[in-house]
Point group: D2
Chain length 347, copies 4
């Protein structure tokens, strides 16, 4: 059994990490830590995690996190570097935050307000890469892994097959994505109040200012093997979980609808979690909520000269904590899908 700690367990990502770890056959949950909520029981913070209801949240310190095979960090950005620096070099550390995702220091400093901490192996195993590789290629046995952001997961898995296969162009990608409110965490902000959200859709971070923009471009460039330019608009939807990413890119001249389909089919034919749907069936977030699965569909709009690729993910599952456990499996040498194949909850 692997002894796994979760730091930052009082947030939505931390709670979801515990949910997945509870369902994992090779995991024993060790320290469960928090900042301001230390000393509280999990039953108060995450009442849906019945079997951990009496567990008390410890403080996030080097002491509480030491002695574990794996530590999952679910901290606000800017905290992972200092917390991880004191952990044993041979412990697997998996960061659900943004701190180690970007390989470009200048991209980091443009979008974040804390010092650049470097980058770790990037935890998107299914990402098709230029030249034929996959995101998982450099994850086996790694001790430090950065879990992708929720939007970059959805957008990259939606569009990368076409870029890697050379059937779509990367210089004018347009993405509009809708996210449930849990993506914004538990912060007490007026626009996240139920009265404001229910019955309403609204955009935010418009004009390329959302922090996930450079991460999306990093992934799509890894797929394309060339620079990519993305117009990314996230929107807040009246639902607690789920991301629907609608992604369009100009098709390479001479590409047929069959070429497009074949690029996506081939990309995910052997994947356990990413599913290209039958032609005519479109993803809905309800199909994946609570699961580590991703559903994808693509079509060529010949009139507009663009491919439209849509992906639905659960922002907290495959978009965060499910991905963290998938990375854990790869890091420690377990089958990649261990503990992760469960169905979503619908309706």
């Amino acid at each position: 059994m692997l002894k796994v700690a979760v730091a930052g367990a009082s947030g939505y990502a931390g709670g979801e990490a515990l949910r997945w770890l509870l369902a994992h056959p090779e995991v024993e949950i060790g320290a469960v830590t928090a900042g301001g909520n230390a000393g509280t029981t999990l039953g108060t913070i995450h009442p849906h995690l019945r079997s951990l209801a009496d567990r008390v949240l410890l403080e996030t310190t080097p002491d509480t996190l030491s002695g574990h095979d794996v530590v999952i960090l679910a901290l606000p950005h800017g905290h992972s570097a200092s917390v991880s620096s004191v952990l044993a070099a041979d412990a697997v550390v998996i960061d659900c935050g943004a701190d180690f995702r970007l390989r470009s220091e200048s991209a980091w400093t443009t979008f974040y307000d804390t010092a650049y901490a470097g980058s770790w192996a990037y935890g998107l195993p299914e990402l098709p890469l230029a030249g034929g590789g996959r995101g998982r290629d450099d994850l086996a046995g790694t001790r430090r892994i950065a879990v992708p952001g929720c939007y970059p997961t959805a957008v990259s898995l939606a569009l990368a097959p076409g870029l890697a296969a050379g059937v779509v162009e990367g210089d004018d990608v347009v993405v509009v994505a809708a996210s449930g409110t849990s993506g914004a965490g538990k912060a007490l902000k007026p626009h996240l109040l139920a009265s404001e959200v229910m019955g309403s859709m609204s955009p935010y971070g418009v004009g390329g200012t959302h922090r996930h923009t450079p991460e999306i471009e990093q992934n799509l460039e890894a797929a394309a093997g060339a620079p990519v330019r993305v117009s990314f608009t996230p929107t807040l939807a009246p639902m607690p979980r789920g991301i629907l990413a609608t992604c369009t890119a100009r098709v390479v001249p001479g590409t047929s609808a069959a070429d497009v389909r074949e690029a996506w089919r081939a990309a995910y034919a052997d994947e356990a979690f990413v599913h290209l749907l039958e032609p005519g069936t479109w993803p809905a977030t309800a199909h994946v909520v609570g699961s580590n699965h991703v559903v994808v569909q693509v079509v060529l709009d010949e009139r507009a000269g663009r491919v439209v690729a849509v992906a639905a993910v659960d922002n907290l599952a495959k978009g965060t904590a499910g991905a963290a456990v998938q990375c854990l499996n790869l890091a420690v040498g377990l089958p990649e899908s261990t503990g992760l194949l469960g169905s979503g909850v619908a309706p």
Copy 2:
């Protein structure tokens, strides 16, 4: 491994039964059958059940259902008698419908429009009974089990401890319960359209006309050992899953708040799925959605002379399909909680 068939698998209850069976370590899913949807793949009907996406729904016939250790029926009421009559006597048959729940033929004929089919063992293991027994007492080894209705599950578990312990009176029980829309199934009715439901609460079956009324009384009478009279009002809430049952009953004169709490505490102290919350914490359906757990709270309102007991359940899980699997475990001699201890999905 137990080979389990699900009849009526295209509805919400059937889909949820498959979700729980997929998570069960001792179960192999056999025939999956339907009526009008026979011939369709499960991927079309229940896109959240990824691992069964390519399974084709068979017709519900004696042939397709034979040869299984267990058959779970999730049929419209009135169909279970004929379907079950042709199944082997030693096969376990678990009916999620109403057909075999009522022990009173006159209650059946008052509330239903089909012929009375008799009654089977009633599958509410945790129900405290007058005289000290539990609902599970006559379930071990049973071959025919009727799964309780979703409202009766919530109401009975909320209120039965007080009746069984003799601290509340049963002659003037008042229950108002809110249910998510999946409780009404997939029927194409105008009042179930999203445009009508979102942002709205409404009652239905008011005045004791809801079919779950006699079943609630049957359970509460089993707990009280005496006649019980219930005013039951169900309401439709703008959420897909979950029941919140608010139940009040007059307290027996001389009963203290401590007496009340002790009655409920003792009733569920050893239960795996029913949890009396800490004083001051109240159930929310979000705490149990996707899980087989039930959360309960009770308080004595001395001014009003009534106990208020509230329970939250997932109508499709503990309210239907989770309960079916729990009954399956009891019937075949597995530990009662096998495959059922998973956490709910929140937020």
Copy 3:
């Protein structure tokens, strides 16, 4: 034209007051004031009030509120006494808060933490009173009016006809009501976050501890002409607006279903805003959201020996700000329904 000020205009009740005043043909909106939000434009605070978008919120002071024909107070409880004490005696002051609703000082001190400020005329015009009067009887020409709470409005209008007519008993009333989240205001509390509310129902203030309990009893006692005892349980529903109140009371022995219906019919036959629906049709909050109307239905459950009366109101409209404008009309001598007959917004 009447010059009307709104104090506390940045909250949901204040914004709704402005919405109704904008639609009123005899009203000119004067000072619009706030506490912490003073200096901000209404376009920022209430973006749905387009025609007031450039108005700047003033501070709530004696100066800003003086010189108006009518002042509507939408303040947190405990502030109305000091604010109103400096207003001209002949100005109409209408308080949407709780401060002046209760005629019993002991009830006030039991439920509130501020000093008792006395009581004003109670603004529920349609309330049937013991002996044949109506709530409106002492409102014409009044200069100080307390607007009822949202739950008391729904519950009182649902149940008072039976008490006033002597067909139901008041000593064991049970009420369970569901409210949208705007009833809790804009406070930044974790349980009001969209992620927590959507898809969930939960009770609060259980056991007679909600502050609206004594106000409900005050109203029902005015209808019954005798003491009334109420078990009241409010619940939070996943919708922004609306209250559905399900109210039951024991029927007086010998009362027929026709007697019950006649009591309710007669009570509201001449009312512009309270509507007894056709038999078989039940209220939904969607029927009244955005309007000053109330829909009511009642049925006798002979088996349970109880009447079930249900009312749906918009908590911000007839439950607060619409009622305030209705009181304004009565106070200044305009037809009671001036500016208030508009339809709700559905779906």
Copy 4:
């Protein structure tokens, strides 16, 4: 007073037309007709329209619709031609359906399955046109007007200012829009059930197959004075009303952010219903639900080389029935905003 009939009054668009007509000071509601629902009272069909509750729906025939100053048609597509052909030539006929919107017969036959009926004056008064005109230029005094579709209204008002001003290019426009469920009407389709919609986002009509695509292009071409190519993806959002349209187009080289803003500012500076928000404030559908207003924001994403323009409208109000009344005002010579300036309902 104008005598106005509504044909097809039992649908959501018809009900909304009645809501706006009830609020109009110069309108008397005449015949209210339906197909299958003829003979039913409006109280049953649209319970929120209290003042019309006792009105009986008549059959949609030449007789019932004759003798009115204005007839508003809210019929399924394909019916308006035959119904309108028998109406008096001097009666104003305003069609909320698609039948007379498209000026291109080939566009019609590509997207619709009924015969082309020709085109009427197009009712989008605020649309900026190439060369400096406005959509309203040919509406004054017109007797036949086609009300725009809900998506085309939102998209056209969002993006047309940039095309008319020559600051954005029209050859690669990308639009992703989210709509509430009332846009799909009251049809009993499985994907419109509340259980399926709540908590879920999904696209439909992907790849340029939605019928509003040619109408969007027609409008944008009128603004640009040149061919326009649009990739349009509509999505279904878990809310009853509202459209949020996120529209991007490549900026003309050399255009500054200030140029972009000025184009939009100038376009709507004098409009009563279309509002360019302050920089940094983004539209939400909650800001306009229940109102005839449109809120718009635009920003230049220099990194992506695209303008992002977002508009929020109420699909049933400015997106259908409010627009119909606005057209009515123009046709009969009333001030354009008569009866339409009311605020939305929020939260």
